[in-house]
């Protein structure tokens, strides 16, 4: 059974078709990658899933529920978390607060409990703090716990971005170019984290990435987009030998 089923999704802005008739099946427990040249519609696809865009036509089904008209905060509460391509962190807050913000829906005390901060509010905060600390431990962010996010280096901020999405405790994690702009060492780190996220936390990962070496290494399934259309899909080997994909990347002879 497919976890997330994207059927016949078309997204158009006026006359421009960002996505046309895209079909995808995101299988549970696997790493699915979406690749393609610049402007192929990869990020648009993620935006459609996470609710920032609503597809013009077609459906996105997650556990039999239609996501195509849900807003981002509804999608995130259903168990689909998203890390952004360009850092979209709360730069005026510490790493800890950034992660705690992702627990927003799980902090179930009322306003008056919060104003008094006694009993339930205090207890629930402490419980969620424990969860956040687990994630900090998992993503190896301990030294930066209390640092303002805006003051951290780019590589660390990217890690915080992934950690924050992970703090939502999602079933599906959408990662939008988590390795863009990083050096080899940082890339290796992130790859290790992505694989750990999949194996240890049993999270389905959807990865949008330009680094083909990484994608071919870790993906279980790949979809190739070009000009908003799926031109190839399958295992890394199948995709690498697909003539259409080779055309799109290298050009025709």
């Amino acid at each position: 059974m497919a976890h997330l089923k994207i059927s016949d999704v078309t997204l158009s802005f006026g006359g421009l078709k960002a996505l046309s008739h895209v079909n995808m099946n995101i299988e549970p427990g696997l790493i699915t990658s979406i690749i393609g040249p610049n402007g192929a519609g990869k990020t648009s696809m993620l935006n459609c899933i996470s609710g920032f865009y609503h597809p013009t036509k077609g459906k996105i089904l997650y556990k039999e529920k239609d996501l195509s008209h849900a807003s981002p905060h509804q999608v995130s509460t259903m168990g689909i978390a998203r890390a952004f391509q360009n850092l979209e962190l709360f730069s005026g807050l510490s790493v800890l607060d950034n992660l705690l913000l992702a627990r927003h829906q799980n902090l179930t005390y009322s306003f008056f409990h919060a104003a008094v901060f006694y009993g339930k509010a205090s207890r629930v905060e402490a419980e969620n703090r424990k969860f956040v600390e687990d994630i900090i431990d998992f993503m190896e962010l301990e030294p930066y716990r209390k640092n303002l996010v805006g003051n951290l280096s780019y590589g660390i901020q990217k890690k915080v971005e992934v950690a924050r999405a992970l703090t939502l405790d999602p079933e599906i994690l959408l990662l939008d170019e988590p390795m863009a702009g990083m050096n080899i060492q940082e890339k290796e780190d992130i790859v290790r984290f992505v694989m750990d996220i999949q194996k240890e936390r049993n999270v389905t990962v959807v990865l949008v990435e330009h680094d083909l070496g990484v994608v071919m290494d870790i993906s279980d399934q790949i979809y190739v987009l070009d000009f908003g259309e799926v031109i190839g899909s399958g295992t890394p080997d199948e995709v690498a030998n697909n003539p259409k994909v080779i055309d799109a990347y290298i050009g025709e002879d």
């Binding site: 905060h73 709360f90 730069s91 005026g92 913000l101 829906q105 919060a114 905060e125 600390e133």
Partner: protein, 364 residues
């Protein structure tokens, strides 16, 4: 936790609950308690004229109002140039009670805490309503939307005979357990009451900022797209921020009405709104202690300028009133200087002083 809870040195947290404390060491707590005792106790020892007591009351009321504005502008990043109108909503809630049931009705004179909370709720309702444009507007455009609310408010009050066309509407003297609060005790009595409001609301804000109801404000300020992806409804959060600001403003307005024993529209004009903005900026946006520094600094400046112009007035006998010219001038100058040289406000000086004294007498 180690044994010596008086010093920060050598104390490590062993549970997450310990880290939630407002005061980390006994020393902090003691200093704060002493400060509070001092604030409550000094009128028993010193006696000051009603004129200066009124100034103190005004400062405290401004602190309540700026609490709301700082949450809105500093934490949630939403500009409001109509804050005085929200304060006015609170004051006119009291005024309309007084118009409908009479200014000496038991509800107003005996159940005044209920009236004050009612005014706060009224402010919150209007705040939420005025906050609706924030769903669509940002920055300068939102500022204009709130400015228009200020204008509508002023116009509305001035043209409604129910509100006496903005002329004073009287509010009766309140009763305490010892009977009616008389003329001589009036300002002292309200000093204590407003101080209690400031302390309670101050702790309320402190607690809110530790929880999701405070964090969501900052999230919306820093990045509302990401806030949306993290499971918050940014639109709802912005409306909530306006409602919160409206509540504080409403309480401040009701206190103002009771303190002056009357409501007139001149206290809630655009000029007052800009004054609240200045207090928030000078105090330090997005900081808790800035809420207290700002009103104190601006009101203190007012007094100083008044005394200075009185002094200058002796020498410039041909100038009719130096204070009228000097007040707006110094007020504007202070805002400009703060925006240029210390945009983080007095709260930043406080931070520097604190981090310096922490290590004193060692350099690092």
């Amino acid at each position: 936790m180690s044994q010596n809870r008086w010093l920060a040195t050598g104390n490590f947290f062993t549970s997450y609950k310990q880290e939630q404390r407002t005061f980390f060491t006994h020393l902090d707590r003691t200093i704060f308690t002493c400060f509070l005792v001092l604030l409550f106790g000094w009128p028993l020892v010193f006696e000051i004229s009603n004129k200066y007591m009124l100034v103190l009351d005004n400062i405290l009321i401004a602190i309540v109002a700026v609490m709301g504005l700082n949450l809105l502008l500093g934490f949630a990043g939403l500009i409001s140039i109509g804050h005085a109108a929200f304060v006015g909503i609170g004051a006119y809630t009291v005024a309309s009670f007084s118009q409908v049931i009479g200014d000496n009705h038991v509800f107003i004179t005996h159940f005044w805490p209920v009236v004050i909370v009612c005014a706060g709720i009224m402010g919150a309702i209007f705040g939420a309503f005025v906050g609706l444009p924030a769903l669509r507007l940002k920055h300068l455009y939102l500022a204009i939307a709130t400015l228009s609310f200020q204008m509508i408010f002023e116009w509305f009050i001035q043209f409604m005979s129910f509100f006496n066309q903005g002329q004073t509407i009287y509010v009766g003297r309140v009763h305490w357990f010892t009977g009616m609060v008389g003329r001589s005790d009036h300002y002292l009595f309200w000093y204590y009451i407003i101080l209690i409001f400031v302390v309670v609301l101050g702790f309320g804000v402190r607690n809110l900022l530790k929880t999701k109801y405070g964090r969501c404000l900052v999230a919306v300020r820093d990045n509302d797209r990401a806030a949306d992806a993290m499971g918050m409804n940014p639109g709802l959060t912005k409306v909530y921020a306006f409602a919160l600001a409206g509540f504080f403003a409403g309480v401040a307005g009701a206190l103002h009405a009771y303190l002056y024993r009357g409501v007139g529209f001149e206290s809630f004009t655009l000029h007052a709104s800009v004054g609240y903005l200045a207090m928030a900026i000078v105090g330090g946006l997005g900081t808790l202690n800035g809420i207290f520094w700002g009103p104190v600094a601006i009101k203190f400046l007012d007094i100083q300028v008044e005394q200075f112009s009185e002094f200058v007035g002796h020498y410039l006998t041909y100038a009719p009133n130096v204070a009228t010219a000097l007040k707006p001038l110094s007020f504007g100058l202070v805002i400009v200087l703060f925006l240029m040289y210390e945009p983080r406000g007095i709260a930043n000086w406080w931070r520097i002083v604190k981090s310096y004294t922490k290590l004193w007498p060692f350099r690092y």
